[in-house]
Every structure is written in C-alpha cells, then in structure tokens.
Symmetry: C2
C-alpha cells in the first residue's frame, strides 16, 4: 500500500471569523482532496494578521505533504497572504514578472486601469510558480508545498482544478455507508466491537436529527475494498439484528 498523502487547509480572513462571510472552501477542498486519495488532516482559520498567517503556514507545512490556503490575495490593504507566506519561508515578497504580464494584458482589454492596488495581486514570495485563475485572471501561487488560492469560492475552485493534476494522490479512500433507523446509543457498543475487529478500516457513525427522531448513518472508510466490504457486512448483520 502506498504511503498516505496528507494535507492541511488554511483559511485566511477576518470576514470568516466575524461570521459575516460563511466559509464554503473547507467543505469543497475536503471533498476534492478525499476524492484524490489525499487525507485532509487539519484545517485552521486565522485573521488577516502577518504573524498569525506566517506561524500557521510554518506549523502546517512541516507536518503535512501539502498545504492549501484560501483568501487574502486580492488588491486591497488587508490582503496580506502573500506577505505572510513569504515571511514563513524567509523570502522577499515581490512582483512576479509573469503575474504582472498576465494582469497587464488582462486589464489592457478592459476599461480598467492597472492600478498600483491591482499590481499588488502580482506579488508573490520570490521563486513562486503561478496557479492559473480562469475566472478573474489574478493568479494564485505555489511555493514549496504551499498552494495559495483566492477566497472567492468560484475562483478557489478554478484554482483547485488547476492544481489537481500536479498533486500526487494517495490510494483512494473508499467509503460505503448504511443507514440505521436507531440512535447511536443503541449501536455504540456493538459498533465499537466491529471497529476493533476491522482495525484497518475507519468506522464512523453520524447522528441525523430531523427535529423529532435521531437516526444514524454508519460509514466505513478504508483503502482496501475487501476490508471495507467485510466491515460493512458485519455492520449490516448488526443493523439487521436490531431491526429484524
């Protein structure tokens, strides 16, 4: 079996922490990475603060195969993700020639000036490579194992698609589930026994509350289909025993 490939996500922005904007990027990235066989192991959300960004990038980039960030790469004074990532790597943050060229060409086609503020969007840590932005052109960038993306969901998703083919995926994690008409409390004991028996799989149970009843979805995840199927068979037998 191949080595697990791991990842962390870092969401940057006061607007998420104030609740003004509800994050949609964590769930999207989680699903995207899982589908590629990459284990998302940790997420952090930090404010638009240089040291907070740099400290989080350094904590995460040494611990996981990949780091993905979203937010803080626009043209305004509070967009300081590039500076924070540069600080984490001990690199200067400067205008990237290729990014400047992309943006200059883009704005030449519009009636908008290529202002100093817009030129901010071409800043990256020295040596970064660019991540294409099909939506609004201003690129993201990659430095080391850190991928820096926009916060606007459609743009972030476009960048994720650009990054995808460059990532080394792990063995895909298979997931199968069974709906169980009773609450977790009824199945917790036997389910723990099944988890012990099938230790190569990860068995989770997720309560669903519809305002009146609590039911449970039982999910078995694993990298080997035969192992997942064996665990699922034991879960099915347990559920049948409860409801039969």
């Amino acid at each position: 079996m191949s080595q697990p490939v791991t990842a962390a996500m870092l969401v940057i922005g006061d607007e998420i922490l104030s609740g003004r904007t509800k994050d949609k990027n964590i769930g999207y990235a989680a699903e995207y990475l899982t589908n590629m066989g990459i284990d998302l192991k940790e997420v952090r959300v930090v404010s638009d603060d240089l040291d907070e960004i740099a400290d989080a990038v350094n904590a995460l980039r040494h611990k996981y195969t990949y780091v993905f960030t979203s937010g803080g790469i626009g043209p305004t004074h509070d967009d300081i993700t590039a500076d924070g990532v540069a600080q984490a790597f001990g690199l200067p943050c400067e205008h990237h020639p290729e990014a400047l060229a992309i943006l200059r060409e883009h704005y030449a086609k519009t009636d908008l000036d290529f202002t100093e503020a817009r030129q901010r969007m071409a800043r990256t840590p020295r040596g970064a490579t660019l991540i294409e932005n099909q939506v609004s052109k201003a690129p993201g960038f990659k430095i080391g194992n850190v991928h820096v993306m926009a916060g606007v969901p459609k743009i972030m998703q476009s960048m994720m698609d650009a990054i995808g083919p460059t990532l080394e995926g792990g063995a895909k994690v298979l997931s199968k589930h069974i709906d169980c008409p009773v609450g977790e409390g009824t199945i917790g004991g036997p389910l723990g026994e099944i988890q012990k028996k099938h230790s190569e799989t990860m068995i989770g149970s997720y309560p669903k509350f519809d305002g009146r009843n609590i039911t449970t979805q039982i999910v078995v995840r694993g990298r080997d289909e035969a192992q997942v199927d064996a665990a699922i068979a034991d879960v099915e037998a347990m559920v049948a025993g409860l409801t039969g």
Copy 2:
C-alpha cells in the same frame, strides 16, 4: 475601553475533514460571538485523534479568553472529545454523577435502554460543570475556559444559548457597510489611505462575483460608533467620487 475578550473554536471530527459533512458550526459560532462583542480569533478542525485534540485544546486555551469545541461527544467509540480534553488538562475522564442522573431519567421515559454506550455520554474530565442540552438531553461540559459542545448543529446551537449568559462579553463590535459598484482593484489604493487615517477601525473589502461582474462590499468595524461613522463618511466620499 474594556479589554477585548477573545475566543477560539475547535471543530472535532473526521467527517468534516473528509468532506462528508459540511460544517455549519463555525459560521454560527462566529456570528454568535461577534454579536456578544467577543472576538473569534482562530478556528481549527482536527480529526478524532486523542493527541490531536489534546494538543489543539492546549494551544488554544492558553492563548484566548474562551475556547469552544463542537463534535465528538456522542455515544460511539470514535467520540473521544471528553478524553482528549481531559488529557489536555491532565485530568481523569470519568462518569459525571449529575450527567448520569440526567441521562438515566431521560432514558427511563423512553423505550430505549441506558446502554453502556449511552453512559459514555456522561463522561467528562473530573470537576467539569455541565452545559444543558435541550434537544436530546446528553449534556456538554465546561472545564477551565473550554466549553465542549455537540456537533449536530441544532444541539450545538442549543448549548451555545445555554452558555451565552455565562460569558463575559467585550464591547460590542459595530459593523457598517457600503456597497461599491466597482472591483477592489479600483478602490484598493484610496481605501488603504482611509484605513491608515482611521487606524482605530478595521476596514475590510469583500469581492462579490455574480458570474459576470465583480463588485465590492466595504465593511468598517470598530468598537466606537463615532470612529466607525467617520471612516464610513470617508469611504462614502471615495465611492461617490468614483461613480458620480
């Protein structure tokens, strides 16, 4: 002006990191705390892993006034938040007599057995106080400055309401906004100048992309209404200059 009251949120659960469940608790807590004048400064999401939970709790509880967790307090084998928090505090994790009594009384009224799995939900670090759960009875708990809540959004929200009156709120952060019909690139320069002039306020700008045009919402936040109004007036003058 009173001292800012700060908070961190810790979301616990493999189901969030796999993308199977989309978190709704971060946005809810962010808005709830902001409305109380409490600054949410950081969020982390970690897996159902004892050391990851304990390390995150310890990193956050020493840094912020309050920590709020969601997830991992149900009756199954992978619900180990109480153990992780106990480990962080160096305390034993044991059945809380009051929680046992609440659950025993609850299940006596149902046709469900008070199984060993359900008794797991009464476990807390020694010395914890309980947080009421109006939805499904199994309580959350508070130990030190750490508040441990359920992951199911309706239950988490009920616990947040139970906790609310016990929290010391800071000065409320006021927020006013202006919609600006042009992109951030046009306003980035002058907005940076306005931020410098009104350094007591936090000025954010948030792009909105409707699939065709990018517009901007400019938000001014601060603890003093006169300061917020003064900054808003300068932003309004800037926007009027652009569109007039």
